[in-house]
Symmetry: C2
Subunit: 368 residues, 2 copies
DNA sequence: GGTAATTGTGCCAATCAGCGG
DNA sequence: CCCGCTGATTGGCACAATTAC
């Protein structure tokens, strides 16, 4: 009995290995298709032991541990994440859902997010929703199928409170980034929009004596736009400026949107003291519109997000720094803490800062 | 015997279903954990039939097909991609490997890539290598574990010919994007760099009578930089300009890199007729350096890639359009055709165009 | 007889070849 | 021939069982 079983033990794996070699001999002479079984056979241990070594758990002697590791690298073993996910009902994957990859700010955000998640051993499954809530629902569905451990989401414009509710029902950890939703308190990481808008307006009112303000950019109904405008209004109220001195020109959040909204503003005949823009991209577009009409030196402009090129702009763009990359890191940390079973501060509103440059009318800094 | 087994057959699924309900009763009252088996039971068919309906293959009567579909949506079924991948040895996933997510050009590229892949039913597993070949190797390893169907890669600076060779050995379909490697002919989609550099230089020489040129930006050893410079040199040679009239200032491909290289150029005392930049970001940084020294109106500048903000720049930046989003679409198409078993044109070099604006010295276009 | 080290076995969800009404 | 089912298979993990000292 013992002899026979031990023979089987030896023969089985070898046969299996040979078949595999034959099956894809010229396709993949190296690591492709090497299974934990192959590793175990090569190291002369059971699949279970090999698994323990792989996951660095359980009690395995240092000697065999070393031997198994050697076999792994010798065979070029790559663990099959799908198989693990099947068994665990979860994977080392996080769904990342954004509204527009072409937006430079999201690039910076993603950069930070990806770095932190990768460092923790998670891979990013990326989806671009084109700011469409239906596409967002579809994305979540698909990502659920991939058994993502969690979701980092820039919610699409028009997302309702049902969305976070449904995620909660699913028991799927998530964080919203940079845009939060009205009503339901949901996990969130982003800069304080009210403060950001307030910061911009206060600077323009207090140091530049602005009395008429235009808020340009951001689609109607987007809460972050509402909030930033709220911050602007508060600054105006605090300074005793009538609310009627604020004019809104919503637009798509992009350079093209800013250009068009800027034209509309100019065509309207309005000549505000400042144009507070919803994003740096919008500000870039607005500047183009102003220059086309020779107005660039007459009206102050501020941006939002402080993207890398803002400081290089002519004139250097005064902007509200939301520190996109850092925000990405924090969103990752938020999600990772949830995944680790902790419960992090639900809503993390970072405090934005104003990066004062020249587009607001301030003098150039001396260069060190 | 028969009775017993048939009883087991009936009881098993119900018991399993009940256990599932209990296990996560308050966690996920809806679709989470619904399996194809549950769908089959609900529709009164076998798992296999349900599978056929799911994948829209095989011969299933329209009646049962409809019934199964109804059960799927009734239960909120979400197919488990991991299980499918385990069985198929491949997933509906593509690995996307880039060097720096924060680079706006890659944002545009990814936008196109993701859209096309998503339309074909593939999800993107995203990795940012920080332009490090070792991180790139690690990324491929990890992505292999996820059983990606293919790879879309912006190769890191310093990648050797061994890299595509190893991918080929693995039998893993891939495309390189925007940067190609010396030597080995590998699947590639990107704009023709020699032509791009040539286009910029020719314009400056032919219409602006430039005789001294500086090429700024791009790290040493990057082939796309070498090629663009090659194109510049050819234009110079064609015009009878000595090769010594070309000066190189390599830098990191970013605004910060451009700013620093621009300063170095200015400090060197050189005052070329044109500065041809390796990317728009670099051009933005160079412009800042020029403005700091009051030189912005004296030296012409061209960018590369024609990112969205290039047209909004002051002065509007003359650039080489490589059509990032379109490139992303084409890279996706290349990969998808490989996956479909076809063999697309291995190296697809799109022809870049020059977007003539004012930074080169051309007059402003009349506005329609 | 107790403890560290290792192993066997059943599962996870979907797919596919082969079989039968 | 059309339709649908059975049973085996995929790679890794968890738990109980088992060995060795």
């Amino acid at each position: 009995m013992i002899d026979r079983s031990s023979m089987e033990m030896q023969v089985q794996p070898q046969t299996a290995a040979r078949m595999k070699c034959m099956r894809r001999a010229d396709h993949a002479p190296n690591g492709a298709g090497v299974t934990l079984n192959d590793v175990a056979a090569h190291a002369g241990v059971s699949r279970a032991t090999a698994s323990l070594v792989l996951r660095q758990t359980g009690r395995v002697s240092e000697a065999t541990r070393e031997r198994v590791r050697a076999s792994m690298s010798a065979l070029g073993y790559v663990p099959d994440r799908g198989a693990a996910a099947l068994r665990n009902h979860t994977s080392n994957t996080v769904g990342v859902v954004v509204t527009n990859l072409a937006n430079p700010f999201f690039g910076e955000l993603l950069h930070g997010l990806e770095k932190s998640l990768a460092a923790a051993g998670f891979a990013c499954l990326l989806v671009d929703t084109s700011d469409d809530p239906d596409a967002q629902d579809a994305a979540v569905r698909e990502l659920r199928g991939h058994k993502v451990a969690g979701l980092a989401i820039v919610p699409a414009t028009g997302t309702t409170a049902e969305f976070p509710a449904s995620l909660q029902e699913l028991g799927l950890p998530f964080v919203f980034m940079t845009r939060y939703l009205p009503g339901t308190p949901a996990p969130y990481v982003g800069a304080d929009d009210v403060l950001g808008g307030n910061l911009a307006a206060r600077h323009m009112i207090d140091v530049h004596n602005a009395t008429t303000i235009a808020y340009v950019g951001g689609p109607i109904g987007m809460l972050s736009r509402e909030n930033r405008i709220g911050g602007v209004k508060r600054a105006m109220a605090d300074a005793g400026i009538a609310a009627t001195s604020l004019h809104e020109f919503p637009s798509e959040t992009s350079g093209a949107g800013g250009l068009q909204a800027g034209r509309e503003l100019i065509d309207s005949g309005l000549r505000p003291d400042v144009i507070i823009c919803h994003s740096d991209s919008v500000a870039f577009g607005v500047y183009r519109a102003l220059r086309l009409h020779g107005l660039a030196d007459d009206i102050a402009v501020t941006g939002y997000d402080d993207v890398a090129t803002a400081a290089l702009w002519e004139p250097p763009l005064t902007s509200i720094s939301t520190h996109g990359t850092e925000l990405g890191h924090r969103a990752a940390a938020h999600l990772l803490e949830q995944l680790a079973g902790g419960n992090p501060q639900l809503v993390q509103r970072t405090t934005p800062e104003i990066a004062v440059r020249q587009s607001c009318g301030c003098p150039a800094q001396s260069i060190g």
